[in-house]
């Protein structure tokens, strides 16, 4: 599986709402385009405003060469924005090493723990993924 494709998902989103209640958390959330995405983002590190466009990808590895990808678990990232990932080692890489994260401004790590189908969303294909990145999730 890992060998086939480390890129699980890739799309571009428009931020159209940011922390509806405004107060729940100091750091906020955003959502967007074609497919709806609700995601918790640490806005101290990566401020997002309504109207921003972000490219989000979901990968199983940060390695550039898919054949080297070790984990089938999961990751994602967002270009010009964010990404999410799992790596064999999370320690600082040397400056010469290059990987997927270099192309993104914001990278998170997490785990897809549940697939669920939500019939309410008409826009979409049948599948909706709930995944979780530490404490950050995507629908």
């Amino acid at each position: 599986m890992a060998k086939k494709n480390i890129l699980l998902f890739s799309d571009t989103f428009n931020i159209n709402d940011c922390d509806k209640d405004g107060k729940k958390f100091d750091r906020g959330r955003g959502e967007s385009l074609e497919m709806e995405l609700v995601i918790d983002v640490n806005t101290d590190l990566y401020p997002l405003d309504i109207g921003d466009r972000v490219n989000v990808i979901l990968t199983t590895s940060l390695a550039l060469d898919p054949s080297k990808a070790q984990s089938e678990d999961m990751i994602t990232g967002a270009s010009s924005a964010e990404e999410m990932t799992q790596k064999a080692s999370w320690r600082e890489k040397s400056s010469t090493e290059r990987d997927l994260s270099d192309e993104f401004e914001y990278v998170m790590y997490g785990k897809v723990y549940k697939y669920d189908e939500e019939r309410r969303s008409k826009v979409y294909p049948s599948n909706l993924v709930i995944s979780l990145f530490g404490n950050l999730k995507l629908v």
Binding site: L45, Y106, S126, G134
Partner: protein
């Protein structure tokens, strides 16, 4: 080391026989006769032949006992006796003596029973062993004998025998009419006396026979042995004459020591009384030999009588205790009461190796540890043979206890850690079971002395083995207060740490003795950041080698349900998902780490990985949380409770509105415009409306607080995460304290027509009835403060009767004498502490998810529906399952798997267009692969949604089997005590409340402690009896009303327009005009004839059928029946009789059941009507037309027993207790309640009634004298035991404790039986000493 308790002690006490000492035995046991009243002679030495004679033992260190020559500490003491010149009554048997005198003829001493009665009673009494049943027979004999005047044997006349004054008996021989003649003769004997003393005359007719002790003694001596049996005595052990004192034993000095104080000594009360007895006795002896007047002698005798009585029992009423003086302590007082011999020294003993001091908290301790202070050793002069006790050291086992010991978790075993300073310290997590806080509480500590005791203590009572309460299996040892607060704060969404911070926090959770693997950071770029939730991941599973993989999904406290989003997306982060020890989402709050929740983190670890892992996790949590919170800081100040501008405005508006609404209601009620609610009168309706409005005010104010307060507000944080206080408490501090409620209603009147004199009379405004509009911040007005301070709690339930119930090796529940109470504990033989679910020992859903998560997929193919079915059936059918599981458990497993796996998978496959594969393909299709159809992507989707491999399924079923086997209750478990504690302990937390019943505002039912008491005591009358009826036609209100009309009592007054006196020339009568309209409206099924009949049938009216005349269809005339007598009188009387009748007529019941107070139609589920009947009369209600008799029940246990039988009564007990507890939000395992129901009813088939767990019920249930004596009315039970020559077999728990024997419960139940080394051969008979001597002499 101390020797262990040997079960093979050389002698074992088998039973105790109670009886009375005869004068001969008293003499035999004595050393000498006490004759001298003086205590000391002129040399200040004990007087010879006095009550302190050294032959009785000694209470002085320097004096040796003259009888045995031992010192004070060694001499056990010896008895003496006083020879009474004249016999006196024994105060303890005084009542019994009177009873016996009533039963016998006062001339010939035969029992006053005709020969026939005598025989039948003798037969009955001989065949009855049960003490309560014997008591009943004795009572009926007594009742019969009291009626008999002529003795059937000697024809003498017997009158009633009565007690006069305190200790005098009189025989009113001349009371019966027959005795008139005899009385005359008797009077004649006074002729001479009257002549010399005329003032005697008016008293002579009052003279009756005086039964003094001497006379009674003579009478009793004549009683035959057979008659003794009829008196309820055992002639071998307790002849009636023994109940009268002839010799008084003088107890050893050891039990009444003199206290020497510089050349003077204070004597014990007993010594004083004894010397008084000796004194009076010598006086009488002297008087008898010298001869004094009769009246003087009688005076002396009475005094002797009184002194002896005081010696036995100084608290007897009528013994003339002088007020103000210090009451003396008689023998009875020494036994009685909390400090008495029984409760103070026998049931509870002082012990060595124990300690008590103040407690303080320490989160650095493991939860199963307790600190002790280290002391300096001070051994100085040791001699050979001295035993040196060692100090406690780390790792010792101790028992730790805090009073009140309400349940078994009030005493637990901890490991010792010796540390400096003087308090006992333990981890805060263990506060809950002890109910301890640190405001100065003290606790006790006991050190078990043998290795066996240590092992037993730590295995059975160890903290780790008691993480859950046996009440319902909920975790009870868990994080509290600050631990919850900091858990919540750590796991909030916006908590991020860099590597330094993260590792620092991780190191908090251990003392540098734990290998920790740091997880990958949640945010990689731009900075590596870890979340607070990841700290919790580390806490659950600190390193890769830890096997703890928690899988849990649970709602948190702040979870908001919404259909439009997945639960995980809750904006409050209130849905917790933990997968393989990683928190996916959700903030950790009380429901996750606190007590009382089976979906909590620690409970899950406990159930899946055992107590050690759970305790370790808790230790890590307490260290982490206290250290983290100390760093972060968490405090509360005045600014936290200051309401903001908006909040204040909103709240003011809210209260003003509510006040206005209430005023409006009161106004409407005054003008009579308020429409009554069903079953309520005006006042109740108003009250209900106002309470509704006011309680809403507080709720609304709380809601505003929640939204308006800053989310960093400390009280708010504590309320949200559940660590301390509720949302209501927050709003009480910030916004408004709200309505104060006493027993379900607003503050009642304390003064005339008002609650306080600050308000106008009859005022019903919110303020006058205890509404507090201020907050604690703004300050309460004086009246508000007073209202707020009114509130109360009720004491707990005493459940002593269940102490000796235990599981035996055949899994049945039996009491100590082997009586069967339940065949199988709780019907399934499972331990309530091991239940994950309501009924099952496995929470199937969570465990299935858990297994799927922990067992790797490893490229195994997912099972097809039919394969799942087949594998399940195969495994469930194997021997392991069949032998160790109940059929119902296997069935529920099958059902679960087919519902949760097979059916779900089938429908899933169908919806994605795959072959459903719910049946194994038949032969023709067997070569077709069900997986062949469908694209890979579709299959992947289905697999993502639901996939289970064979290994996973097998593992799951294996877990189910293991958990079931573990959950089986162990033989020896004291289930009775557990049940009693489980029901009694929550009683302390219940406040007195009444609730509205099933939507009917006016119908209250008692709940809380009073209700539980009613049920457990099996009270005959209960405060709110309610019969719930199912209607034949339950959809139509009209027909319900008709049935209601049949039940409710309708009085003639309700349906009469008027009742008039009519006077005519030749007659007068009452004309009753019926209101036919009203009859129609009330849906009464009656007519004028029936009403007339009802009037005639009312016995009190004494009307005859001729006296009633029916006029038209709506008038009845009632004539007063005529009586004989003179015309004039008759007329006078007639008028008054008419008036009486007029007053009585409206009370005539014409329809309905008299015992029913009222009936209310209420809505049950889904618009179905049911009828709630307040009052008694279940039988009548059941048989009423229009009611399903088979589905009608009452909440009155006794009535159900009477009408439906003992099994129905048992069900009612169980249901009612569960209902009551449920209404208070407390859950109790049904097994405990079932056991209680069984113990109350298991003698039902013998005595036909429900036995309450109060002193009468218990004495019916138990036969052990010692147990009863240690429970209540100590001396009464002891005297009674001696009287009836009772025998105590020492089987129960109380008796074993008193006798210092191991009890037949728990580990004491187990006995090792082994084959004798002799085989079948009998051991040779041992020769007696004298046998051998005889032989020697012969030769």
């Amino acid at each position: 080391m101390k020797e262990q308790v040997l079960e093979t002690a050389p002698r074992k006490i088998k039973h105790i026989q109670f009886s009375v000492l005869s004068p001969q035995e008293i003499v035999k046991n004595s050393q000498f006769v006490v004759t001298h009243r003086d205590l000391f002679n002129e040399n200040r030495a004990p007087m010879e032949n006095g009550v302190l004679d050294t032959r009785l033992g000694t209470s002085d260190h320097d004096i040796l006992c003259e009888t045995c020559g031992e010192r004070m500490a060694q001499c056990i003491g010896h008895f003496g006796y006083i020879k009474l010149v004249l016999p006196v009554f024994h105060i303890g048997y005084f009542k019994a003596v009177i009873n016996m005198l009533q039963n016998i003829c006062k001339s010939c001493s035969r029992v006053l029973l005709e020969e026939d009665d005598r025989r039948t009673y003798l037969k009955r009494i001989r065949s009855t062993k049960e003490s309560s049943a014997r008591g009943k027979i004795e009572k009926s004999i007594n009742a019969l004998c009291k009626k008999i005047v002529d003795c059937p044997y000697c024809n003498a006349i017997n009158g009633p025998v009565k007690k006069v004054g305190a200790i005098k008996i009189v025989h009113e021989k001349f009371k019966p009419k027959k005795a008139h003649e005899e009385q005359e003769n008797f009077k004649n004997t006074f002729v001479n006396a009257v002549e010399s003393m005329p003032e005697l005359k008016p008293h002579i007719h009052k003279a009756q026979e005086d039964l003094n002790a001497m006379k009674v003694l003579e009478l009793f001596k004549k009683i035959s042995d057979e008659d003794c049996e009829l008196l309820g005595l055992d002639p071998q052990n307790a002849r009636p004459e023994l109940f009268i004192w002839q010799r008084v034993p003088v107890p050893p000095v050891a039990i009444r020591p003199s206290i020497a104080q510089d050349n003077a000594s204070t004597e014990d009360d007993l010594t004083v009384k004894l010397s008084e007895i000796v004194q009076t006795n010598t006086n009488i002896a002297a008087a008898l030999s010298k001869g004094i007047t009769i009246s003087q002698l009688m005076e002396q005798w009475d005094y002797l009588q009184l002194t002896v009585a005081m010696y036995i029992n100084s608290e007897m009423p009528g013994l003339g205790n002088m007020a103000g003086t210090k009451p003396s302590r008689g023998l009875c007082q020494r036994l009685k009461g909390k400090q008495g011999r029984f409760r103070g020294n026998l049931s509870g003993k002082r012990v060595d190796f124990s300690g008590r001091t103040v407690i303080s908290p320490d989160p650095n301790l493991r939860i199963d540890e307790a600190y002790q202070s280290a002391k300096d050793a001070c051994a100085a002069e040791l001699q050979i043979g001295d035993v040196v006790e060692r100090h406690l050291r780390d790792g010792d086992v101790v028992l730790f206890n805090r009073q009140p010991s309400l349940h078994k978790l009030s005493i637990m075993a901890h490991y010792v850690r010796v540390k400096p300073w003087r308090t006992f310290r333990f981890n805060e997590c263990v506060c809950t079971p002890y109910n301890a806080d640190f405001d100065g509480d003290e606790m006790n500590l006991h050190v078990p002395q043998t290795e066996e005791a240590r092992v037993e203590a730590i295995e059975l009572m160890g903290v780790k083995n008691n993480l859950v309460t046996p009440r319902n299996g909920d975790p009870i040892i868990a994080a509290i207060q600050d631990f919850i607060t900091s858990s919540y704060l750590i796991t909030k969404k916006d908590v991020f740490y860099n590597r330094a911070q993260f590792t620092q926090i991780c190191s908090y959770m251990a003392d540098a003795d734990l290998h920790i693997d740091i997880p990958p950071p949640a945010i990689y770029k731009p900075v590596r950041l870890w979340t607070g939730k990841q700290i919790f991941n580390v806490l659950m599973r600190p390193n890769k080698s830890s096997s703890v993989l928690v899988n849990l999904e649970s709602k948190g406290r702040s979870f908001e349900k919404s259909e439009s989003r997945a639960p995980e997306m809750c904006p409050n982060d209130g849905y917790v998902v933990i997968q393989n020890s990683e928190i996916m989402c959700g903030a950790i709050d009380k429901s996750l780490v606190g007590d009382g929740n089976k979906h909590s983190l620690f409970y899950t670890i406990l159930r899946d990985y055992g107590a050690v892992q759970a305790a370790d996790a808790m230790n890590r949590l307490s260290k982490l949380c206290s250290r983290w919170l100390a760093n972060r800081g968490f405090s509360i100040g005045i600014s936290d409770v200051q309401p903001g501008e908006i909040l204040r405005e909103k709240k003011d508006k809210l209260i003003t509105d509510a006040n206005k609404a209430c005023d409006d209601l009161i106004e409407r009620s005054k003008s009579g415009k308020l429409e009554n609610q069903p079953g309520c009168n005006e006042e109740q309706t108003l009250e209900a409306h106002i309470s509704g409005i006011l309680s809403r005010v507080r709720d609304d104010a709380g809601q505003i607080c929640m939204t308006e307060l800053n989310r960093h507000n400390a009280p708010l944080i504590m309320a949200t995460c559940g660590s301390k206080g509720s949302k209501i408490n927050v709003s009480q501090m910030v916004a408004c304290v709200g309505q104060q409620i006493i027993s379900g209603s607003r503050i009642p009147d304390g003064f005339q027509d008002r609650s306080l004199p600050h308000f106008p009379k009859h005022s019903k405004t919110p303020a006058a009835r205890g509404f507090v509009r201020n907050s604690f911040y703004s300050g309460l007005t004086p009246t508000e403060f007073l209202f707020h301070a009114i509130s109360g709690r009720e004491g707990l339930v005493d459940t002593a009767a269940l102490e000796d119930l235990a599981i035996h090796y055949d899994m049945s529940v039996r009491n100590s004498s082997g009586g069967l109470v339940q065949f199988c504990y709780g019907d399934d033989g499972l331990d309530p502490a091991y239940l994950e679910d309501e009924v099952l020992p496995v929470d199937l859903k969570r465990n299935l998810q858990h297994t799927i998560n922990i067992v790797p997929w490893a490229n195994d193919p997912g099972l097809l529906p039919y394969e799942i079915k087949e594998i399940t059936d195969l495994i469930l059918d194997c021997d392991e399952f069949r032998k160790s599981c109940t059929q119902s458990y296997i069935e529920s497993l099958q059902k679960f798997i087919s519902q949760e796996l097979v059916e779900k998978l089938v429908s899933l496959r169908q919806s994605y267009g795959l072959i459903s594969a719910d049946e194994r393909p038949n032969d023709e299709y067997s070569d077709i692969d069900p997986n062949a159809i469908g694209s890979d992507s579709v299959k992947a989707i289905v697999d993502h949604k639901l996939k289970i491999t064979e290994r996973q399924l097998r593992k799951f079923l294996n877990i189910c089997l293991q958990k079931f086997v573990k959950a089986k209750i162990e033989p020896g478990t004291a289930v009775g005590a557990l049940g009693a504690q489980s029901i009694g302990e929550p009683g302390t937390q219940m406040t007195l409340k009444t609730f509205h019943f099933a939507g009917v505002a006016s119908m209250n039912i008692t709940l809380g402690v009073p209700r539980i008491k009613e049920i457990i005591n099996a009270s005959k009358t209960i405060s709110t009896p309610i019969i719930t009826c199912k209607l034949v036609n339950d959809s139509d209100v009209k027909s319900a009303r008709i049935v209601k009309g049949r039940l409710e009592t309708t009085y003639l007054g309700d349906i009469a327009k008027y009742i008039d006196e009519i006077y005519e020339r030749d007659s007068c009568y009452l004309a009753i005009k019926l209101d036919l309209d009203a009859i129609q409206k009330l849906q009464l099924e009656t007519n004028i004839k029936e009403i007339a009949r009802a009037i005639v049938n009312d016995r009190k009216l004494k009307l005859e059928i001729q006296g009633i005349r029916i006029v038209d269809n709506d008038e009845i005339d009632a004539y007063v029946p005529e009586r004989d007598g003179s015309r004039r009188q008759e007329l006078d009387k007639l008028y008054f009789r008419l008036q009486v009748l007029k007053r009585a007529l409206p009370k005539v019941i014409i329809k309905g059941i008299q015992t029913v107070t009222r009936a209310v139609i209420s809505e049950a589920k889904a618009g179905k009507k049911q009828l709630l009947v307040e009052g008694y009369g279940l039988r009548e209600v059941m048989t009423t037309e229009g009611i399903f008799g088979t589905e009608t029940t009452s909440n009155n246990v006794n009535e159900v027993n009477k009408v439906l039988g003992i099994e129905a009564a048992r069900n009612t007990i169980i249901q009612e207790i569960q209902y009551t507890m449920g209404r208070h939000g407390m859950s109790i395992d049904p097994r405990h309640v079932m056991l209680l129901g069984d113990i109350m009813t298991y003698k039902g088939s013998i005595c036909g009634e429900v036995l309450g767990i109060h002193r009468f019920g218990i004495s019916n249930m138990k036969s052990s004298v010692l147990m009863l004596a240690s429970f209540e009315k100590t001396t009464d039970h002891l005297f009674d035991a001696a009287l009836h020559s009772k025998r105590d077999c020492l089987e129960g728990v109380s008796e074993s404790i008193i006798m210092g024997m191991p009890m037949q419960l728990g580990t004491g139940l187990f006995k090792l039986i082994r084959k004798s080394h002799l085989g079948d051969e009998k051991p040779p008979r041992r020769k007696l000493i004298f046998d051998s001597r005889k032989q020697i002499q012969l030769f």
